[in-house]
Amino acid sequence: MPASAELTPRSFPAHDYAVGREKIREYARAVGETDPLYFEVGAARAAGHTDVVAPPMFAAVYSGASFEAAMRDPELDIDLAMLLHSGQEFEWGELVIAGDQITTEIALAEVSERVGMRFIVFRSSSRNQRGEHVCRGTWTVVVRPRR
């Protein structure tokens, strides 16, 4: 058994993310969103929010930082050039709004090897400053062998 397959599930330090209005706008533009809720404070307030709303997939930003840090864990020894994202699941709770403070915990859930490729699964859980669930993520990556 390669050493990587013997890793036991474990957690990484929690990561705090301060949600900024301009970051939401930058993200929303980058993925082609047009809903005024993501851009205009007035539209968001008219819909009952305190500030602009983050698109659901903004989870990639506030919890992605935790995922990136976990993948750089020296013990995992991941060759990032050979890394492919193979699957992703998000489950959302409360909407994320500019001004929110999101805390994400991420844990290594599974490591397995198949046909020379290493599959790694992380699970993340993100809450806002009121402790409300905003997103749970399951991140699956595959590390291809270098030829």
Binding site: K23, E26, Y27, R29, A30, V31, G32, E33, D35, L37, Y38, V53, P55, P56, M57, A60, V61, G64, A65, E68, L80, A81, M82, L83, L84, H85, S86, G87, Q88, E89, F90, E91, W92, L95, T138, R144, R147
Partner: protein
């Protein structure tokens, strides 16, 4: 939307990410893996060239759902498998078919295709409708 029955289609979404889409997404997301922004590096890693971030393509899948629902808060769950690298400067089509209604959720099967190949297949979205 409340009349959505199993088998009905949500509006398709077609997007052609421009040449610099991966650069903008890298900046917006913080994922600067060079396979997404450096042509030579991507080829040296055995890829056809710079590939789109999987989470960018997933964001298109999510947008198709939230635009159909008319409210970002209605998308409660999305699970995808990335089936092949998607690339900039070629059209991506997101197709969404209602599979079933379950309590207050509409379960939608979603596929993203580019150049006739699925880049995301078997995706499942749950919309509160």
């Amino acid at each position: 939307m409340s009349a959505l029955a199993a088998g009905s289609e949500l509006p398709a979404l077609t997007v052609t990410p421009d040449r610099y889409a991966t650069v903008r997404y890298a900046g917006a997301s913080g994922d600067f893996n060079p396979i997404h922004i450096d042509e030579e590096f991507a080829q040296s890693a055995g890829l056809p060239g710079r590939i789109l971030h999987g989470l960018y393509t997933m964001a298109l899948v999510a947008r198709a759902q939230t635009e159909a629902a008319g409210d970002p808060g209605k998308l409660k769950r999305l699970a995808v498998q990335f089936r092949g690298p998607a690339v900039p400067e070629a059209e991506i089509t997101i197709t969404s078919t209602v599979k079933e209604r379950r309590d207050d959720r509409t379960i939608v099967a979603v596929t993203a295709t580019q150049d006739g190949k699925a880049v995301i297949r078997g995706a499942v979205a749950e919309i509160e409708l």
